[in-house]
């Protein structure tokens, strides 16, 4: 990354942010939006950055209607602050990304990071219901709305989600939120894959299940008390503290990668990693995170993941490794179509140049 002195702007409102972005773009400056910085290492090395737009000043809950189970927030609010707010109404947003705490909502949407609860709730893709984005021409544009079901107009939420800020700077978002589970039990096993297979075949699926390279498995069951208790009893694992999930969410490393493959292929892809590799996985989803050692191993592992129809993405790595192996891997076959969209949003390529695949 170019670490030479860059301008920093800390707008207090979406309008200020849009204006700053518009001016910078008009002047041909390259702009990077900065949230909590938790995913700052993800993606390719920036070619250029003239202005950092910090979203920390946009940290309000715009509206939370507990009865509607809908919340609208500014992009700079941290996930933890939002959860504290929602918890007052016994609600929550089912996002539990790694390398926590400190993710901002805008950063999470732009990076597309998820965590173990994805098994039950899906990703932000499934509960992001509205978005507001600042564009390089200084406009603020919204899509979606504040209702839980909506087919009015194009679903632009999907385009910005996980796009690493390459189409615009997310300034606000609306979510469908969820009631806190009636009952929440965490259990643990050390039986590795057989334990995982056992759970996946059972009639009640857990809300989250994580497998570690040492064979440890933790699973979390949400639901009505009788159903959860009887499921857990049948399973026969050790009941453990749910604090395990908080600790788990802090996990990250200097060099780590995300492997995402079709669910049924995950095991064989992980088996192909170098002997003694350390990783953790969501076997119910088909995702694993891997602490890798060197670039050569990444290339081998990526070939295996891509051959299985998936991907291997660097979550953090030294610049020289990124340059050697590439942050994203093989470009998608629809790259040309994606570039057309990029051109429609950011024709001068001033947003995060070099960081994303397009």
């Amino acid at each position: 990354m170019v670490r030479a002195a860059v301008e920093v702007a800390k707008p207090r409102t979406a309008e200020e942010l849009a204006a700053a972005l518009g001016e910078a773009a008009a002047a041909g400056k390259a702009v990077t939006a900065v949230g909590g910085g938790r995913a700052a290492q993800m993606g390719g090395t920036l070619y250029r950055c003239d202005l950092e737009l910090h979203t920390g000043g946009l940290d309000r809950v715009i509206e939370h209607s507990p009865a509607d189970m809908v919340v609208s927030v500014e992009a700079g609010i941290t996930l933890e602050a939002l959860q504290v707010h929602l918890a007052k109404s016994r609600q929550f947003l089912p996002l539990d990304p790694f390398n926590s705490p400190g993710h901002t909502i805008g950063g999470l949407l732009a990076s597309g990071w998820t965590g173990p609860l994805r098994m039950r709730y899906g990703t932000a893709r499934d509960f992001l219901i509205g978005i507001r984005v600042a564009l390089p021409d200084g406009r603020l544009a919204s899509a979606g709305g504040r209702v839980v079901k909506n087919v009015s107009g194009y679903d632009l939420m999907k385009l910005h989600l996980g796009a690493m800020g390459s189409l615009g700077v997310i300034v606000a978002a609306s979510f469908k939120v969820f009631p806190e589970p009636l009952h929440d039990v965490t259990v643990e096993s050390h039986d590795g894959w057989p334990a995982v297979d056992n759970v996946l075949a059972a009639p009640v699926a857990p809300s989250a299940m994580e497998l570690f390279s040492d064979g440890r498995v933790i699973a979390r069951f949400f639901g009505s008390p009788d159903a959860v208790n009887s499921t857990v009893k049948t399973l026969g694992w050790t009941v453990t503290d749910r604090e395990a999930w908080t600790q788990h969410s802090h996990r990250a490393a200097d060099r780590w990668a995300r492997i995402a493959v079709p669910r049924t292929k995950l095991r064989e892809v992980l088996n192909a990693l170098p002997q003694g590799s350390r990783w953790w996985a969501s076997p119910g989803v088909g995702i694993a995170h891997w602490w890798f050692d060197d670039g050569a191993a990444v290339i081998t592992a990526r070939n295996v993941a891509e051959a299985a129809g998936g991907s291997l993405v660097l979550m953090a790595a030294p610049d020289e490794v990124k340059e050697k192996v590439g942050a994203w891997g093989s470009p998608p076959p629809t790259l040309e179509v994606m570039r057309r969209l990029k051109g429609a949003f950011d024709p001068k390529h001033i947003l995060n140049p070099g960081r994303y695949v397009i």
């Binding site: 209607s65 507990p66 009865a67 509607d68 809908v70 597309g112 998820t114 899906g122 990703t123 893709r125 499934d126 564009l135 544009a141 919204s142 709305g145 209702v147 839980v148 079901k149 909506n150 087919v151 009015s152 107009g153 194009y154 679903d155 632009l156 939420m157 999907k158 385009l159 989600l161 996980g162 009631p179 806190e180 009636l182 009640v204 009505s224 008390p225 009788d226 159903a227 499921t231 995300r258 995402a260 493959v261 079709p262 669910r263 049924t264 989803v285 088909g286 995702i287 129809g309 991907s311 470009p331 998608p332 629809t334 790259l335 179509v337 994606m338 990029k342 429609a344 695949v357 397009i358």
Partner: protein
């Protein structure tokens, strides 16, 4: 504009002589979908594979002829209506289920596969396809994906976009692409996400990979009566507020219940101001416990005459009343017109009373039957089309109802799509900047505006769109 003989020849070379229809009298039969307005296409092409779809689109692109993909034509927003003429790309011949993967719990289907057929085919593997529009016996998965369709059980399971893993699509230049797939977190922009629900304006869909879910081992279905729509609405909020998201939570008002009961004899309480149909599924322990909790909440909110289905047949009967409700309204008047605006759930009592007042003002009977859990309204304005005077009134009443939805922070459509019918109202909820940005997506993928022109975006050629006096043949002919 009629197509030239050489274009027709080209189409026939691609799709086969019998698979291109150009006889004007026959084309007339294709002028409408499930909505009000009609317009006659210049040709119908029935491709049987992706290559033919791409080739037809290339021919159309060469001659700048509009292309409108069409499934079963059950849509309720005019999405499949060829309002600018052109070629209707009829996808109903592509109706093969190409693969069901019971381990990965996915299916790969052609766009003409009927929604319910997929669940029937998946049933032997104890799997089902979750989105269940009320038209699921006839509507196609391709149409569902294009419109991002919903259904009663989408409250818990999510709408079509939550179940489409990937698609093969043909863009306006005739190029064929696979977007997304069955691995999580794919690299690059989520094209699939933006193409689902794009109403045929960005691509033609030629294959769809969907997620299948395990059939829940236990299902509990409850019918409860309420003294009024208000109390029923409060009960809806209270259930959800208690931390319970049922699989389905549907409301019917007094008018609807009367019509349904006369037709189905499902045991709906006809003295009630409103009834709720609530369903939970899962393992038996869970459904029993949740249903007990739901009963408590409903009682606290003046629910009475609660009846839980004891057998699958009884459950089917309760649902038959709901799914056939709109048809049963034919007992009151032969025709209905409805929007499907969505409001925040807590605004249900307000919006329903506004809807009622609008009906009274226009002297039109209104029957409400809708997805209460989502706040997704379906106010059916009942009328007889042969009474020509009434059309203007119906249109205006519908528009006012939709306006009330928007005033309360709602959206124009929850599942039917914007299409032709609501495009003029888009500026009610989106700023010019919002719409400008959406139109950039359109221009990026379909620069010449070949695909389904005249939809979603406000159409300068159609400033006001009263039902009577619209451009379509059907209205001129006093038929609709």
């Amino acid at each position: 504009m009629p197509l030239t003989a050489s274009v027709i020849d080209d189409l026939k070379k691609v799709a086969g002589r019998d698979n291109v229809i150009t006889a004007p009298n026959d084309l007339r039969i294709f002028e409408r979908d499930g909505s009000i307005e009609g317009a006659v296409p210049d040709a119908i092409a029935l491709p049987s594979n992706t290559e033919q779809v791409a080739a037809v689109i290339k021919i159309a692109a060469r001659h700048n002829i509009p292309i409108v993909p069409r499934g079963a034509g059950t849509g309720l927003s005019g999405g499949a209506v060829t309002i600018r003429g052109g070629i209707a790309l009829q996808m109903t011949r592509m109706r093969r289920i190409l693969e069901i993967d019971p381990v990965g719990q996915t299916a790969l289907v052609e766009p003409g596969v009927v929604n319910q057929e997929l669940s029937l085919a998946a049933a032997p593997h104890h799997l089902f396809y979750a989105p269940d529009p009320s038209s699921q016996k006839a509507c196609t998965i391709g149409g569902n994906a294009a419109e991002n369709s919903g259904g009663p059980h989408c409250l818990y399971y999510g709408v079509t976009t939550n179940h489409v893993l990937g698609m093969e699509v043909v863009l306006a230049d005739g190029s064929v692409h696979w977007v997304s797939g069955d691995a999580a977190d794919r690299i690059g922009l989520d094209l699939c996400g933006v193409l689902v629900g794009s109403e045929g304006t960005l691509c033609a869909i030629t294959k769809i990979k969907v997620r299948l879910l395990r059939i829940p081992p236990s299902i509990a279905t409850l019918l409860a009566a309420f003294p009024s729509i208000d109390t029923a609405s409060q009960a809806v909020s209270a259930v959800i507020g208690r931390g319970i998201v049922p699989a389905a939570l549907e409301m019917m008002d007094k008018v609807t219940v009367g019509a349904v009961e006369a037709h189905y004899h499902a045991g709906y309480p006809t003295d009630a101001g409103a009834v709720l149909l609530v369903e939970v599924d899962g393992v038996a322990d869970s459904t029993r416990e949740l249903m007990a909790a739901i009963r408590d909440v409903l009682s606290e909110n003046q629910g009475y005459a609660m009846r839980e289905a004891q057998t699958p047949a009884e459950r089917d009967l309760l649902w038959a009343g709901r799914k056939g409700a709109i048809g049963a309204l034919g007992r009151i008047k032969p025709n209905y017109y409805l929007h499907d605006g969505v409001v925040p759930r807590s605004k249900l009592p307000q919006v329903l009373s506004a809807v009622g007042e609008i009906g009274v003002h226009y002297k039109l009977p209104v029957a409400n039957v809708f997805h209460a859990g989502d706040g997704n309204l379906h106010p059916n304005i009942l009328f007889d089309l042969r009474d020509r005077e009434v059309l203007q009134q119906v249109e205006e009443a519908g528009e006012e109802m939709l306006h009330a939805v928007v005033e309360l922070g709602g959206a124009l459509s929850g599942e039917h799509g914007i299409g032709l019918e609501k495009s003029a109202y888009m500026p009610w909820i989106f700023s010019p900047d919002d719409l400008e940005v959406m139109s950039r997506v359109k221009s990026a993928l379909d620069p010449t505006g070949l695909l389904n022109p005249g939809k979603i975006f406000p159409d300068p050629e159609r400033k006001k769109l009263p039902l009577a006096g619209r451009t379509g043949f059907a209205v001129e002919a006093k038929w609709w």
